[in-house]
């Protein structure tokens, strides 16, 4: 029942975020500007449907193929905020976004075109900045998701407070 279940080419998604914790960079090791390792991810309708259930999305554009075909996009699309899933789907187990205790402090995202079921999504991502504020260790990350045609789906940046 996980969002990546049908991504047969990929290894099963490790849900125990402690398992690879020692492989992940701590704040001191994160280099602003250095690209993060990323993985292509095939977005499935199953993953979209599961995301929709989790946030109560009922829009037929995401869930009803016939209605979506007759709509403005000519077919099913994913909700804009599907990047919430894509962030973890497109990064490997040793990515520092998975460090237990990572606290999300805020995000901003811009949307270009929708992702669609069947798309192979790629991510270009990096830490852009890091700083210390009120004894907390922050990292700014920036990210752009593309489809298999090289079109930008969405771009965003956020701040996380790093575990100490």
């Amino acid at each position: 029942m996980m969002a990546q279940a049908e991504n047969s080419a990929a290894a099963p998604f490790e849900t125990d975020f402690w398992k690879d914790a020692k492989l992940r960079k701590v704040w001191d090791e994160i280099i602003p500007g250095e690209p993060r390792k990323t993985l292509p991810y095939k977005l499935t309708q199953e993953a979209i449907t599961l995301y929709c259930r989790a946030v109560g999305e009922t829009n037929p554009l995401y869930l009803d193929e016939a209605a979506a075909k007759a709509g403005p996009y000519g077919g099913l699309i994913a909700p804009p905020a599907i990047h919430i899933l894509l962030m973890f789907a497109c990064t490997p187990a040793d990515d520092w976004m998975r460090s237990p205790g990572t606290v999300n402090a805020g995000q901003s995202w811009s949307y270009n075109i929708p992702a669609r079921p069947g798309d192979t999504i790629t991510l270009q991502a990096r830490a852009l900045d890091k700083f210390i504020k009120r004894e907390r260790l922050f990292v700014v990350h920036d990210n752009v998701f593309f489809n298999q045609h090289g079109d930008v789906i969405c771009s965003g940046r956020g701040q996380t407070i790093r575990p100490m």
């Binding site: 109560g56 804009p80 919430i84």
Partner: protein, 146 residues
């Protein structure tokens, strides 16, 4: 709630989203849907510890669950009018826990006509059942001219 019509929209008009009941099950479902299995959302023992000066006392909802609920509100409002959700910026102000009921809302802040399109800026917030704002931010929607 105001309708998504660029001509008639004005600052102060409001948008409302449905209430969302937060439970251990809803948080677990969000883990599976987002692949975000951070122990903040799963492990009560871990959450008994301190995070710097903060102690949450138990598992908390993903901040991005707020983001997803605000997005749902905006797209459900905008899509029937042919408007497109273009941007959302949020920050988290208070943790949300199992048993809370949260609800997103928006207030029209400004309209802007640019060289090739029309835009509406919306202040957004999510409140819990005590009326506390748990997330706040700003969104931008495009109302294409053709």
């Amino acid at each position: 709630m105001t309708s998504a019509n660029f001509e008639s929209l004005k600052a102060g008009d409001t948008i409302e989203g449905p209430a969302f009941a937060v439970s251990r099950e809803s948080i677990r479902l969000f883990c599976d849907a987002s692949l975000d299995y951070n122990p903040l959302h799963l492990d009560d023992d871990y959450m008994k510890g301190d995070f710097g000066k903060t102690n949450f006392g138990g598992i908390i909802m993903h901040g991005m669950n707020n983001f997803g609920l605000i997005t749902r509100m905006l797209t459900d409002w905008a899509a029937p009018a042919g408007a497109i959700h273009r941007r959302l910026e949020t920050r988290w102000l208070k943790p949300v826990k199992p048993g809370d009921t949260i609800r997103p809302a928006g207030t029209i802040k400004a309209k802007q006509v640019t060289a090739k399109s029309r835009w509406v800026v919306v202040d957004v917030a999510v409140q819990n059942q005590r009326g506390e704002t748990v997330a706040a931010g700003e969104a931008m929607l495009e109302f294409p001219t053709s």
